[in-house]
Structure formats: structure tokens, C-alpha cells
């Protein structure tokens, strides 16, 4: 069984910050800042792992639709949607 913290760190740390995932995200534009898109959420997940929590972080992670459209554009092949789902689990536990 995977350790969620280790898995998030291993997966999200591969983000090279290119942003190629962002145009496919349905929540980025209405959200109003980068935290509402996959690039932002993946990197927020790395902060959640370290224990960071704030209202903006909760909003950013819980507005994701988990549609995984972003996964198809990631050149680093990160399972972005799963990173976000696991980060939600950490946030709520």
C-alpha cells in the first residue's frame, strides 16, 4: 500500500513548472488565480504535505473537478488528478 505523503512528494516533485496543463483546466479561469489550476494545485500539494493549510489552499484543492484533463498534457507524466485527490485526503485527516 502506498504511503500518501511519500507518493505525493515523489509525483509532484517532478513538476517542471511549464504550465502546459493549464489551458485544459476548466476551473482555472473562473477561479481567478493560479491556485485554481493544475500547476498550482500540484505545487500546493507539496505544501500540504509539509502541514500548510489555509482557506485559499482548501478552496484551491476542493474546487478541482478531478476530470484529469490536465494529466493528458503533462510532459512529465504526473498523475495530477491523483495528487490532488491524495492531498485532499491529507487535508481532511
Amino acid at each position: 500500500m502506498k504511503n500518501p505523503v511519500e507518493w505525493i512528494v515523489a509525483e509532484a516533485s517532478r513538476c517542471v513548472y511549464c504550465g502546459f496543463c493549464e489551458p485544459l483546466c476548466p476551473t482555472l479561469r473562473p477561479g481567478g488565480h493560479r491556485g485554481y489550476g493544475p500547476r498550482g494545485r500540484v505545487n500546493i500539494a507539496l505544501l500540504v504535505v509539509k502541514g500548510y493549510k489555509s482557506e485559499e489552499v482548501v478552496k484551491a484543492l476542493y474546487t478541482c473537478l478531478l476530470c484529469a484533463a490536465c494529466n493528458t498534457a503533462c510532459p512529465a507524466r504526473i498523475d495530477i488528478a491523483e495528487v490532488i485527490r491524495e492531498a485532499r485526503v491529507l487535508l481532511s485527516s
Partner: protein
């Protein structure tokens, strides 16, 4: 600084100023691997908001960093304290005029979205950096971006007619420069001074851009050559034929092998890749297709694939290898440093096309000498080469070695009559190389002129300080 942020919230409204460190950190990092710390991110909704931000920043002496989508590859959008001004909420296409061949857009419009809008009119904005789907108009203007179609259509410098800019002065002056016409002799050319100035002189809020009709038809030819000489012969023949291709893309054989691991293609892809697209009228398609095939085969290509439209080329995945260049470079670096956070550094030199082969060979040689695994690709139609190497984010020794490699590649470009930065800009990473280039030209005075210009626009040095000059 806190007083400034509070005043900013009072003037703009709290919803436009974000201070949560988690969110601010998302605007304090770049694909270059460089990161820093800003104090806040501000989201203006119009030029008036930007004016108020710059006026307050001038009063408090606070640095301001305009940002598009942060796809910059030279450290040009990196904040150091101060506030980031993000244009995500200024993302409207204001008007399209087919008769005038212009479009008016806000700075935060993504180039990909702009082209979707223009395709309704069978028009396009032809500057297409590799990050076209995410890059914004404002970011592309600041960077002086180019792209795959650069050989035919040039760079942002050639497609911006007019700009609304805001100055970092007491009033946050809003100034309109340039015209709505292609011909425009408005004294000194301030539009072209701002384009490529990397947000160091003024903040661009909206732009009038030239647009052009979509090509009636496009022929695409993808060929693989066992030798670099074969590729270059085909390149030389096409470049000397009087035909101006829409696109000429190259990947060396080692990079093709990497790219193949990231995308499934049904055709045989072995050797040095040469992708050529020529736009033409429908009546000429068959003739151009036959001519391209003939040139490729007579130059020594072992396999040639052609398509009679971009759609067909996409279906056949003829462009897929090139599109996956960045993914290939990431895969290459990840394989070299398993389990590590990595950075991929694409270089960005241009040499005269007559020196292209020499440049590719020299880059390969210096990389091998330094023991660096390099992938070599580029928009070779205009002599623009993007060799790339990667390293682990936390390895300072490896970073220093890559930066030394940067200098070596720059020396190759200068020796061959080229330039150290074709389309990515100077930012912080290439400041030393800019100086090297101007010294090489015996024109260090040009750097003094640039610094003087910076002082005229930004006397308090609060606008993207530390970049370019």
C-alpha cells in the same frame, strides 16, 4: 512593505490582492528552476488598476514584477520581494477587424485562445512559441517571443502595431504608443523598444496586433537522414529555392530516439529529423508535395512522409515527435537522475543559416567534452537552435556546470556570427552573455545606452529590477 500592501488593498479591493504565502509562492517560481519570494500578487482588471499599482509602488519604492503565464526560460519574470502583477484577469479579446487586419487584446489573453477566436474569421496570429497554448500576449510582448513559424513570420517585434503602457512614475501614467496601421512613423519607435524589454521599462496592459489569413493549404514533409550532412543538403536546397517555408524544424538522431520514447508513431523514425511545412494555394499542393519529397530523397533521406494539410499531418503524427521535444528532454533528464526534482535548460542561440551545420557539430562536441547529455533541436528555418541539458534542482555543482555549458554554447554562436538569445530573452540568466556578445561586437557602449533608457523610463528602478541590463 506591509503598509504598501494594505494601501493597495484599500485602493483596489482585497479580492485583487492575494497575500497567502502558498498562492504567492506559485508566482515566485519559473521553469528555469529559479525561485524567490514575492510579498503579494496583484490581479488588475484594467489599465486604471495598473496605474494605481505603479503610482503606489513609486511612492513606496516597492519593486513590481509584471507576469504572464511564467513560461519564461531566462529568469525574466522572477520576483525578488516586491509584488507580482498578474494579468490573468485581463484576458479579453477586445475587438477584431478583418478589414484592418488587426486585433485588440488585453495582456492576459493566451496566444492559443487568441488563435481559437481568430480561426472563426479564418485568420491567425502567427507568432507561435513552443508554449503557445499557455503563453500570454503580454508575456510574449515582454519576451519578444518567436516560435516555429519564425522563419516566415518573424517574432513579436513584427506583429505589434500599438501598445497601451503604464509607466512607473508618480501618477502611474497611462500612455498609448504606436498606430493601428502597418505604416507608422511616430518619431522614435517606442513600440519596438517596449517589445522584448522584458517588463523593465513599462507595463503593457493591452495591444493592437496585426493578424494574417490562415494559409489556404499546407504541405508537410517529414524526413529522416542518416547523416547531418544529408539533412543540411536538403535544408540548403530548400532555403535556396525561392520558397519560404512556414516551418523548418530539426531534431538530431539522439533526440529523435528520446522523443520516440514519449510518443507512439506508426512510421519508421530513425536518424536526424527534418520537418518542413510549406503553405500554398490548393492548386500547388501536388507540385509542392512532389518537390519536397524529391529534395529530401535526393539529399539522402532514408524515409520521407508527406501530408497535404496540417490536419492530415496531425492525424499521421508527423508533427508529434517535434511537439514532444520538451517531454523527451524531461524524460532524458529524469532517466539520468531518477527520483530527483529536475530542471531542463533549453539554450536559445541563433546563427546565420549558412553556419547551421557547423553550429550543431560544435554544440555536440562541446557537450560531449563536458560530459553532458544534450538533446539538439530547433527552429532551423531562421537558424534558431535549442540544445537542452538537464540537472537535479538541488545539485549546485551540476547547475554551475550547466551554466558553464551555456557560456560555451554562447561562444559558439558568437564565433559563427550569431546571437546568444534568439527568442527567450536575457532575464537574469543571460545578462553575462549579453555583455559577452556586445563586447565581442566591440559595442559595449550599447549596454550603457540601454541602462540610460532604463533610467529614463524607470528612475527609481522599481520595474522588474535586476533583469536584462
Amino acid at each position: 512593505m506591509r503598509a504598501f500592501v494594505e494601501e493597495l488593498r484599500g485602493v483596489l479591493g482585497a479580492s485583487k490582492v492575494v497575500v497567502d504565502p502558498a498562492i504567492v509562492s506559485l508566482y515566485s517560481r519559473e521553469p528555469t528552476g529559479l525561485s524567490s519570494e514575492a510579498m503579494a500578487v496583484v490581479f488588475p482588471e484594467n489599465a486604471g488598476d495598473v496605474s494605481r499599482i505603479l503610482s503606489l509602488a513609486y511612492k513606496h519604492g516597492v519593486p513590481v514584477y509584471p507576469q504572464g503565464s511564467t513560461t519564461d526560460l531566462s529568469g525574466g519574470a522572477l520576483p525578488e520581494r516586491g509584488v507580482v502583477v498578474s494579468f490573468e484577469r485581463m484576458n479579453r479579446v477586445l475587438s477584431v477587424s478583418i478589414l484592418d487586419s488587426t486585433v485588440d487584446v488585453e495582456a492576459g489573453v493566451r496566444l492559443g485562445d487568441l488563435n481559437i477566436e481568430l480561426s472563426r474569421y479564418k485568420y491567425m496570429f502567427p507568432v507561435d512559441p513552443g508554449s503557445v497554448s499557455i503563453a500570454t500576449v503580454g508575456g510574449a510582448i515582454n519576451a519578444g517571443a518567436g516560435g516555429l513559424r519564425g522563419a516566415k513570420y518573424g517574432t513579436m517585434r513584427d506583429w505589434v502595431l500599438g501598445l497601451t503602457i503604464v509607466l512607473p512614475d508618480e501618477r502611474g501614467s497611462i500612455v498609448r504608443v504606436g498606430c493601428r496601421t502597418t505604416k507608422c512613423r511616430q518619431g522614435y519607435d517606442l513600440v519596438r523598444l517596449i517589445v522584448g524589454s522584458e517588463g523593465t521599462l513599462a507595463v503593457v496592459t493591452d495591444a493592437t496586433l496585426k493578424i494574417t489569413p490562415l494559409p489556404e493549404a499546407t504541405v508537410v514533409s517529414l524526413a529522416f537522414f542518416p547523416t547531418l550532412e544529408g539533412f543540411y543538403e536538403a535544408y540548403r536546397v530548400i532555403k535556396s529555392s525561392g520558397v519560404q517555408p512556414l516551418m523548418m524544424e530539426f531534431m538530431d538522431s539522439e533526440t529523435v530516439e528520446l522523443a520516440k520514447q514519449t510518443v507512439d508513431v506508426s512510421f519508421k523514425a530513425e536518424g536526424n529529423m527534418f520537418l518542413v511545412a510549406v503553405d500554398c494555394n490548393v492548386e500547388a499542393v501536388e507540385r509542392i508535395e512532389g518537390w519536397l519529397r524529391k529534395v529530401m530523397i535526393e539529399s539522402g533521406a532514408t524515409s520521407v512522409y508527406t501530408a497535404r494539410s496540417m490536419e492530415e499531418a496531425e492525424e499521421m503524427k508527423l508533427i508529434a515527435l517535434r511537439r514532444n521535444l520538451f517531454a523527451a528532454q524531461i524524460a532524458m533528464t529524469a532517466k539520468l537522475y531518477p527520483g530527483k526534482s529536475i530542471v531542463v535548460h533549453p539554450e536559445d542561440i541563433a546563427v546565420p543559416p549558412s553556419k547551421l551545420l557547423e553550429a550543431i557539430r560544435a554544440i555536440r562536441a562541446v557537450s560531449d567534452e563536458m560530459g553532458l547529455k544534450v538533446s539538439i533541436g530547433g527552429h532551423v528555418g531562421d537558424g534558431n537552435i535549442h540544445p537542452a541539458v538537464g540537472y537535479p534542482l538541488d545539485d549546485e555543482k551540476a547547475r554551475r556546470k550547466v551554466y558553464e555549458w551555456y557560456r560555451e554554447v554562447a561562444r559558439i554562436a558568437l564565433k559563427l556570427g550569431g546571437t546568444v538569445s534568439a527568442e527567450h530573452g536575457i532575464g537574469v540568466i543571460k545578462k553575462e552573455l549579453l555583455q559577452m556578445e556586445l563586447e565581442h561586437m566591440g559595442s559595449i557602449k550599447a549596454l550603457e545606452i540601454m541602462r540610460s533608457i532604463k533610467r529614463v523610463f524607470d528612475p527609481k528602478n522599481i520595474l522588474n529590477p535586476g533583469k536584462v541590463v
